[in-house]
């Protein structure tokens, strides 16, 4: 025992040296990728310094005056910024919940379709919107919801609306519109994984349940949903960090002056101040805050997942 104990470090070192040599190809490749990562992902992080400066293009990062937390104070004293955080988080959560629930629901219902051709056809059609750019999708949403768009036409003809509604003039509709746009675009695509998970559930479970006289709903509740649990959790964790990223293109393309109080998101605020008003320091401070929130969210959720013994990201 003791003999082995003393020789072990030396042996390990020798081993690892040999291993290093054996893995030299892998190491070189890894090194190349690390260099790439440093240049394109980590170097820009030094730009965060600007958030603590009164950054002037002329003076550069090294010449600009440091102002401490001035810009962060400015942000948290600004009612607009607080509203923007609210908008971002609310829309992020609504979108995440709406797309997840619809994807699961769609997957379950599609799984109940027994006609193979029909199933295949519906599924193929369901992916289509995922491949369209947001420019196209927002254009479609905008047209469909305009005063003489198809939605108003339909609902007025069905006498559900008395007169056409100008959806983009009312604050209370906007979050819903954004959520529905996401649902329209991603339901089919997101359902892929859920559907695959459902099909991988052991059919014996369903047969046993049927023997016990379980109905369709009970089978879904007691077999399908628990079977999806770990998939749902891992996907939620993966997407939770993006909750705060959930707002740029759609809101930028669909927003307007009247509903700005509910449509403006952190990204738009940062773009507006950081680039539009050329206050690069303020813009960067907003960006730093955003990264901070998203990392916090992930760590918290990862921790919760770990505690409850479920899947986790890292």
């Amino acid at each position: 025992m003791s003999l082995m104990g003393t020789s072990s470090p030396a042996l390990k070192e020798k081993n690892s040296k040999a291993e290093m040599k054996r893995q030299s190809v892998l190491l070189i490749i890894a090194a190349l990728f690390v260099i790439y990562g440093i240049v394109f992902y980590y170097l820009p992080l030094f730009g965060w310094i600007m958030a603590f400066q009164n950054y002037k293009i002329k003076d550069g990062i090294f010449g600009s005056e440091f102002v401490g937390l001035k810009w962060f104070k400015f942000l948290f004293d600004d009612d607009t910024f607080l509203r923007v955080i609210r908008n971002t988080l609310c829309m992020g959560v609504i979108n995440l919940v709406a797309t997840t629930v619809t994807a699961i629901g769609f997957a379950i219902l599609l799984n109940e379709v027994k006609n193979t051709f029909g199933k295949k056809l519906v599924q193929t059609i369901s992916y289509l919107p995922h491949f369209l750019s947001w420019i196209v999708v927002t254009g479609i949403v905008h047209d469909a919801l305009s005063l003489n768009g198809v939605v108003n036409e339909l609902f007025v003809n069905l006498h559900i609306f008395k007169e056409p509604i100008s959806f983009f003039s009312h604050k209370e509709y906007f979050w819903g519109i954004v959520a529905l746009s996401h649902v329209w675009k991603e339901t089919g695509w997101n359902a892929i994984i859920y559907l695959a998970t459902i099909t991988s559930i052991d059919p014996a479970l369903y047969e046993a349940a049927a023997m016990d006289g379980a109905g369709r709903w009970q089978k879904i509740k007691h077999i399908t949903l628990p079977g999806l649990r770990s998939t749902i959790i891992i996907l939620l964790i993966m997407n939770i960090g993006n909750v705060i990223n959930a707002g740029f293109e759609v809101q930028y393309l669909l927003g307007n002056g009247l509903i700005k109080p509910v449509s403006e998101t952190i990204d738009i605020y940062v773009l507006n101040y950081g680039v539009g008003k050329m206050n690069y320091s303020l813009g960067t401070a907003g960006g730093v805050f955003k990264t901070f929130v998203s990392l916090t969210l992930i760590v918290i959720f990862n921790f919760i997942a770990k505690k409850t013994g479920d899947e986790r990201l890292f």
Partner: protein, 551 residues
């Protein structure tokens, strides 16, 4: 098999890229330079005929690119951040930021040399003084500048409450003096005419609120009170020795104006989508002839709209707009039109950037643009092709030529105005022709549809600006004050106040117009507005004004 295919595909791509690189290489000594304007514009085609002529002449081919998909400030902001500059630029409101970042080449040394006499001639010494930052000139505004300071214009380029001539005709060409009369006329007309011939629903009034173009709803109070377009503030001259800065957003007139819009909206006379329309949708709406009236500036809508009217023969139905200059009460003088003077806006203009490797050549190019033959080529076109010359030396166009110039496909491949480069209005150096064809008497009335012509005749006017019935009068040296506020950024307190005021107005103005209870919404708006500390901004403007008068 598959990998071979992929390989072939890659090779094809590489070759495609090679072709790009090949394109970029110069085939001749003509330099390919770039220009960017923080404005909307339409690109002209590569190989444009007049552009090639100018390139042969000057050795420079300037590829113009315009604002797309971003606001102007975002575009300039990202250009400043990246330092990726074209050789020539017009930064609009961002001009000062380009200068602050050290990206612009000073003009002074060039202006002092005789070979740049044309550029020097653009402005008087006193006017050039207005362009100076730290004692140097970095850009020159090319608009609203007539040769030798003598404007001739049948047009009216600025703001007004516009109205379709058919509405005036319907009411037997009345004189509209006040805002109430204006809306009353729209209402009466609309009562009897709800749809156009083609079945489109008539929209009596609309107001654009998008981005910086929200001036269409925002700045009318200054005009309604009888002041000229100082833009961001009123300069009150009750005491001529001590002009006073007044905020037009909080005046009783402002409240009455928005109350009127609110009333009009609730009566259903206002476009229900006014607050959410994009500029594009607004233009499309106007172009169908469905909108009876709106407040806007001529340059913001007229070119496209009139062209669409013409193309679809809608001008024959009396859809063309003429400007009206109402005031809030009867019997006031109005200053919508401040007379035939050039308005100097020193806040923006054409600039040469530090990315330009040969500034000397760049300024020579700018200088050359102002030579009469070059100016004619840019704006009139090629003699014999685009215009003809009478024995008297007067230029004229045939109807066929006019039609061609109205055809976007033709202009894209043929005309090259370099429209943001140095140019003049007014009479050209020969004393016979106008610098710009649109200012020529014949060109102005030719191609006018019958209803519009009749409207001019019935009122006895020969120019658009006469419709405004404005009092001529001199404006102070500070005019327009907006040149001192448009460049304000959030790095100063006045700038923060200015920015927040703008944001507050952007959010609130549409809301008070659509409000069910105007009074309470207005009070809420005033509260939000006061929270922006407008007094800080106003104090800054007062100080700027005082300094200007002193110097």
């Amino acid at each position: 098999m598959k990998s071979k295919k992929i390989f072939a595909l890659t090779m094809a791509c590489m070759m495609g890229l090679g072709a790009f690189a090949g394109c970029a290489k110069k085939k001749d000594e003509i330099l390919n330079w770039k220009f960017f304007a923080a404005m909307f514009g339409s690109e002209i085609n590569d190989g444009n005929e007049i552009q090639e002529l100018i390139a042969k002449d000057t050795g420079i081919r300037v590829k113009e690119s315009w604002l797309t998909g971003q606001t102007s400030s975002e575009a300039i902001g990202s250009i400043v951040a990246s330092g990726d500059l074209p050789e020539f630029i017009d930064g609009g409101d961002g001009s000062e930021d380009l200068y602050k970042a050290g990206y612009l080449v000073a003009w002074d040394d060039y202006l002092a040399k005789p070979e740049f006499a044309n550029l020097k001639e653009m402005y008087t010494d006193k006017e050039w003084e207005m362009f100076k930052h730290d004692g140097h000139i970095y850009w020159a505004n090319v608009f609203n500048n007539s040769y030798k300071g003598k404007p001739v214009s049948h047009g009216y380029n600025d703001e007004a409450f516009w109205i379709q001539v058919r509405v005036l005709e319907w009411d037997n060409y009345p004189i509209i003096e006040t805002l109430d009369e204006y809306f009353d006329l729209l209402e009466r007309y609309y009562k009897e005419n709800q749809t156009n011939e083609d079945g489109t629903k008539i929209i009596p009034y609309t107001a654009l609120c998008e981005d910086w173009r929200y001036f269409c709803i925002e700045n009318a109070p200054e005009f309604l009170d009888g002041y000229p377009n100082d833009g961001s503030v009123i300069v009150n001259l009750d005491n001529p020795d001590a002009p006073k800065i007044v905020d037009y957003n909080t005046t009783p007139t402002a409240k009455r104006y928005f109350a009127k819009l609110n009333e009009v909206y609730n009566k259903g006379l206002m476009d229900p989508e006014f607050a959410i329309q994009t500029y594009d949708e607004y233009m499309a709406k106007l172009s169908t002839g469905a909108v009876l009236g709106m407040c806007d500036q001529w340059w913001d809508f007229a070119g496209t709209v009139n062209e669409n009217f013409k193309a679809n023969k809608l001008d024959e139905k009396g859809y063309n707009y003429v400007p009206l200059g109402p005031t809030i009460d009867k019997g006031m003088t109005n200053r919508w039109y401040i007379g035939a003077t050039d308005t100097l806006n020193s806040a923006s203009g054409i600039a040469v950037t530090t990315s330009c490797k040969d500034p000397d050549k760049a300024f020579k190019f700018l200088n050359r643009m102002l030579d009469q033959d070059m100016h004619n080529l840019r704006f009139w076109g090629i003699e014999g092709v685009d215009y003809l010359k009478k024995d008297s030396g007067e230029f004229y166009r045939t109807q066929e030529m006019r039609d061609k110039w109205a055809d976007a496909n033709y202009t894209k491949s043929h005309c090259c105005m370099y429209s943001y480069f140095p140019q003049y209005g007014g009479m050209s150096r020969d004393g016979i022709n106008t610098m710009q064809p649109g200012d020529s008497n014949d060109e102005f009335f030719a191609g006018m549809a019958e209803p519009l012509k009749k409207c001019f005749e019935r009122y006895g006017y020969t120019a658009y600006n006469q419709f405004l019935r404005s009092t001529d009068g001199v404006v102070g040296i500070w005019y327009p004050m907006y040149q001192f506020s448009n460049n304000l950024k959030t790095d100063t307190e006045a700038g923060v106040a200015w920015t927040k005021m703008g944001e507050t107005k952007h959010t609130w103005l549409p809301q008070i117009v659509v409000a069910k209870d105007f009074e309470s919404e207005w009070n809420k708006y005033m509260e939000a507005y006061a929270a922006c500390q407008p007094e800080v901004f106003l104090a800054y403007m007062q100080e700027t004004l005082d300094n200007l008068i002193k110097s």
